[in-house]
Structure formats: C-alpha cells, structure tokens
Subunit: 136 residues, 2 copies
DNA sequence: TACGCAATGTTATCTTATAACATGACAGCA
DNA sequence: TGCTGTCATGTTATAAGATAACATTGCGTA
C-alpha cells in the first residue's frame, strides 16, 4: 500500500487507521461506515472518526463529498499539488472520479472576483452515470 | 410579494407555505427551521417539510445547498430558464448569491463528456467571504 | 519530577433525513 | 349514488450524520 505519499508529520494512530480504510476502499465511505470497520481496532465513538477526518481533510489527504456526506482518499500522490478538486459521482455504482481542471478553476476564480467574493474553497460535484455503467 | 412567477400547476397548501417561508427569508433555511416557523400553521412533522421541498426542488423553484444542508428559493423569475446554478456562500453572514454562468456550465459539460460521464446535475458551491463582509 | 499540550476516550445530545403505515380529498366513471 | 384510483397529508418511530462537554492518557521538556 504505497499509493499515497505525503510530506506531512507522521499521522497519529487514529488518523492512520482512518486513512487506511479510505485508501483501500473502492469508493467513498461515510464516517459511520468507517467507524464500524474500525470497531475491531478499538474504535467506539463517532468522534474518533470525525476528529481523524478533520485532520486528514486539513492535510489535503482526504476530500469530503458534500452531496454524499461521505469521504474519499485523495487520488493524487501529493495532495498539496492541486488547488481545487472536482468530483464526478456515479449514481449507479457509486464510483467517484477526482478531476483537476485548470480552466474550471480559473472560471470559478473569475466568477468570484467579478462579485468581490473572497473564495476560500470551491465545491464541485458532478452527478450522473459513469461511462462503465452507461455501457452496461 | 410577487417576486416569483412560475408556470407550474398551482402549489398545494404545504408547498405554498414552505415556499413562502423560503421566499421571505434573507438566506437559506434548514428543513427544521422551516418546520419550526410553520408550527403555527399546523405543521407537526419533518416529513411535511421534506415532501414539500422535494416537489419545489423538482419544479426548480427551490435549490438545495449541499454543503449547508439547507434550502433557498430560486432567485429567477422563471426557474426553468436556467440549467445549472452555482452558489456563492458567505461563511460570515450566511448570505447566498445565485450565479448563472454559461462558460462554467460549458466547461462542466466538456469535462463530463471527456470521460464519457452522463451528467444529470452539477453541484457548484463557492465558499468564502462576500464583498460586504470583506469591506466591513 | 512536574508541567503543558496534543491526542484520545466516553457519554450524551443535537441535527438532518427517511421508513412505514393510516387518513383525507377529490376526480372520473359505472 | 357509490366505487375506485391517485395524490396530498398526517403520524409515529427510527435511521443517519455530527458535535458538545468533560475526563484521561501519553509524552516531551523545563
């Protein structure tokens, strides 16, 4: 499991456990799903998961999907390299694809600037059917 | 209060009540806030609100803000006129501005097409500080 | 050792959303 | 008139997501 390399301070035990679950998952996981999967590791309360997730999101290693109330591991080697992320979420199979697009980011920045809005974060989530499911 | 004109079948009583609350609100409201405001009208359960909201969203008269778990009345006269909507959400005052931008929509469509993704809906929510709050 | 700080653990509670089932209102038609 | 289908409503209970408040532990450093 060396898909992710991050130059942050070493993760704490709980952060590492939560990140591990997200990394080996096919798609997004809810906080409570993670909790259940980590009960065997001694997890007992939602807060143990939420606290770890908060940090991981802060580090940029995990993204929160607002329209799903769920979380995914970042698909980039070094998550600091990309600014904003967009996601394509398949409503059939649940698969999530992370997209990075400079033109999109530029346009969002322009829109914000045009109205004097100081952008801190952008949420872009495309809902639909992925190519695989469409073919099937 | 004639800010909104819609060519849909007349709203039912509950739909009209919920839409009324959203229309006169300054910003987005949560389903439970709406419920509390409509208790005087006889509302007793969340489902009464959620059912009305589902229809209003379907009609395009109300938008759901995924990153807030809240709802706003559409700011356009005829909500069918615009395809996708983007929102700028001020994290200081809570104000929400609805944006319609063809270039943004085009770019999102291009991104979807490039990966064979069949787009049904796009969620775009900009988080930051609005011009007014920045000035203050 | 003693202090400070960050991570952790624990209990309770709050907020958001839906399932399941019962009732009411009304239109169309035999 | 009485039947039937359908849509809106009402009601109770519960699921799912998130946080508040407070206690405890582990560890580096003065």
């Amino acid at each position: 499991m060396t898909a992710h390399v991050h130059n942050h301070a070493a993760l704490t035990k709980n952060q590492a456990l939560v990140f591990g679950e997200l990394s080996k998952a096919e798609g997004p996981l809810s906080a409570y799903t993670i909790l259940d999967q980590l009960r065997s590791e001694g997890f007992r309360a939602p807060l143990q998961v939420y606290r770890a997730l908060d940090k991981l999101v802060e580090f940029g290693m995990v993204h929160r999907l607002e329209s799903l109330n769920a979380f995914v591991a970042c698909s980039h080697k070094d998550c600091e390299a990309h600014s904003a992320a967009a996601f394509a979420i398949c409503e059939k199979c649940g698969q999530v694809t992370e997209l990075s697009d400079a033109k999109l980011d530029d346009r969002l920045r322009e829109l914000a600037e045009a109205t004097g809005f100081a952008l801190t974060k952008s949420v872009v989530e495309l809902r639909g059917i992925c190519a695989d499911c469409k073919a099937a």
